[in-house]
């Protein structure tokens, strides 16, 4: 027993150290732009974990999740930028953004309580677009969001007078601010992981699984379907809102373009490819799908030049093409995702067996 525990503890310690030193390895070998990509990977991990609460745990297919990211991002942007002349600190604006996103989660959840599956997906998709279009057009008659131009010069995170907005010096060396953000995001990501894990293994988590497996039986067992669905929407949106606020602070600029439908689809793809319902799988999926396109971006162009001597397919298009191909292959070979939960793997195995029996 202690042997197993020691082994687990060892594995945990090794991965913890790996995660802590990772930006320095990556930054040293590949440059700061790759550390920046790691920062984004962490943001997407938070987003994917939030959506996973809705889709993976409670089984509610949500295609408009990016709206909550937008709510979080704009809350921060409007409260900490010259746009309104407000410069509230992050420990106020990020919680406000998170709570506001949760509120929007309930706002979306309420009218779709009776919908399931495809119908739910379509309505949530519409909701995501409505939020984006609202943001895009709320510059008149009163300028709230500054419309398509977006909000600029957003305050970076500041801790006790120390700004994350510029590079810093340590042991005589200058490091870019992307390192600071990495650790800041890492702490919050770990927080979201713990939150998701604890929810999953609780009375609430059980009720979500019950809802996902059979909503009528769940209702007949005394689960308040309305409240448990709204809780899933709210808590999922909460994580999305936190990630949104961080995104704002990190970028220093937000515009409606960042919150298009393709972003919602990407986050859903992270969950599905990683392994829906399994926290480790979702983290893996988010990291894979953030980093893989960047690797493709930096390799496709040079590769074509080397092989054909000229650019045949535009790298951006080729990237999406390969990406789509990878998804199709994945769905054929491993539809349960790269690292599924035990329960989900069983579901897929049973489904396969069912087909061969029939």
């Amino acid at each position: 027993m202690t042997m197993v525990n020691n082994k687990k503890l060892g594995l945990f310690a090794v991965s913890a150290i790996a995660v802590v030193v990772l930006p320095f390895l990556v930054g040293g070998a590949l440059g700061n732009s790759w550390v920046r990509i790691l920062d984004f990977a962490l943001l997407y991990v938070m987003l994917a974990l939030g959506l996973n609460m809705v889709v993976g745990f409670a089984g509610l297919l949500d295609l408009g999740f990016i709206a909550f990211y937008a709510v979080g991002a704009y809350s921060y942007a409007l409260l900490s930028s010259p746009h309104f002349g407000l410069h509230l600190p992050f420990y106020i604006t990020i919680p406000i953004g998170a709570v506001l996103a949760a509120f929007f989660g309930i706002l979306l959840g309420t009218p779709v309580l009776r919908l399931k599956g495809d119908y739910l997906a379509i309505v949530t998709l519409g909701f995501g677009e409505i939020i984006r279009i609202f943001i895009n057009n709320l510059n008149a008659p009163i300028n709230i969001t500054n419309g398509p131009q977006g909000v600029n010069l957003i305050d970076p995170i500041q801790v006790g007078g120390f700004s994350f907005g510029k590079s810093f010096e340590l042991f005589g060396q200058t490091f870019s601010n992307v390192y600071l953000y990495y650790y800041f995001f890492l702490v919050l990501t770990v927080g979201v992981v713990i939150m998701a894990w604890r929810l999953q293994h609780s009375r609430i988590g059980r009720a979500w699984v019950a809802l996902r497996e059979d909503d009528i039986a769940a209702a007949a067992m005394g689960i308040n379907i309305r409240n448990i669905k709204l809780l899933a929407f709210a808590l999922g949106a909460l994580s999305g809102g936190v990630a949104g606020g961080l995104f704002s602070a990190f970028q220093g600029f937000v515009s409606p373009e960042s919150f298009s439908l393709i972003e919602s689809i990407m986050i859903l793809a992270m969950i599905v490819l990683g392994g829906m319902g399994n926290i480790a799988g979702v983290v893996l999926g988010a990291v894979m799908l953030t980093i893989a396109p960047e690797i493709l971006r930096s390799t496709i162009g040079p590769l074509q030049m080397a092989v054909f001597g000229k650019t045949i397919v535009d790298p951006e298009n080729a990237r999406m093409l390969l990406f789509g191909l990878a998804m199709v292959v994945m769905m054929l070979v491993r539809p349960e995702g790269a690292w599924p939960s035990k329960r989900r793997r069983m579901e897929f195995q049973d489904a396969k067996k069912g087909v061969s029996h029939g």
Binding site: I194, R198, R203, I204, A210, E213, A219, A220, M221, M346
Partner: protein, 256 residues
């Protein structure tokens, strides 16, 4: 006079033009086993769904333990003390037997999202109590050996028992069983009968739909007969068995 636990009067349930339940009234006394029989399509399961909040009745009154449950939501009905099983077993197939019963404890426990995230002492104590109670119930219905098996992999008889354990986890005063013996062999049926007698002896009133007339006659204190959405007879088993209207409903009218 026995104490009335559940009372419905004039219940009407329509599906479009079809009147599935037409002016149905019945009352169930505390501590009895009350049977509901009738030919296929008579409205037995519809009545069950009305009594457990899954269907909203169109007209009538419905009181249970002194509370008005007319058009109440399912979780309110369960909270008031009516639990049910399903004709075509509806377990949470990918959850273990133990987890299924733990879900049944939902309505009697409180921990919310915040408690789950913070894992404070109250939440953890409650969680342990939920598991202990669930194990106790698996033992009670005699399937504790399969506690960690997924519900899907259990034998048919075990699934039926698991559904009963899950329903009992909600601490019902009325347990509504929809054809619990369907598809069981005589041995399993006899075991089930013993289980139902044990549940009743422990103070839970039972409402039972069943096709096995022999089982019903031997087990039920009173029986109601539904036909085409109407109650055509009600009373002690012998009386119902000899009622000409019941015989007609089951065997048809003699065209002599």
């Amino acid at each position: 006079m026995a104490e009335t636990l559940l009372k419905i009067e004039g219940i009407v349930k329509r599906f479009g033009g079809l009147v599935a339940l037409n002016n149905v009234g019945l009352s169930i006394n505390k501590g009895e086993i009350y049977g509901l029989i009738g030919p296929n399509g008579a409205g037995k399961t519809t009545l069950f769904n009305v009594l457990t909040g899954l269907y909203m009745p169109d007209e009538g009154t419905f009181t249970f333990a002194g509370k008005d449950l007319f058009r109440a939501k399912p979780h309110v009905v369960v909270g008031t003390g009516i639990a049910r099983t399903f004709q075509n077993i509806r377990l949470f197939a990918e959850m273990t037997a133990l987890e299924n019963v733990m879900v049944g404890r939902h309505i009697r426990t409180k921990a919310g999202g915040l408690g789950a995230i913070l894992r404070n002492k109250g939440t953890m104590d409650e969680e342990r109590a939920i598991e202990a109670k669930a194990r106790e119930l698996l033992e009670y219905v005699g399937i504790s050996s399969v506690a960690d098996e997924r519900a899907r992999n259990l034998s048919y008889g075990h699934q039926r028992r698991l559904e009963i354990a899950r329903a009992l986890a909600t601490e019902p005063t009325l347990l509504a069983l929809d054809e619990p013996a369907a598809g069981m062999n005589p041995r399993e049926t006899s075991d089930l009968k013993d289980l139902m007698a044990k549940i009743r002896n422990d103070g839970v009133t039972i409402l039972l739909i069943e096709h096995d007339v022999k089982l019903m006659m031997g087990l039920c204190d009173r029986i109601a007969v539904l036909d085409y959405g109407k109650k055509i007879a009600e009373g002690v088993p012998e009386m119902v068995r000899n009622d000409p209207k019941v015989i007609e409903a089951y065997l048809g009218v003699a065209h002599a």
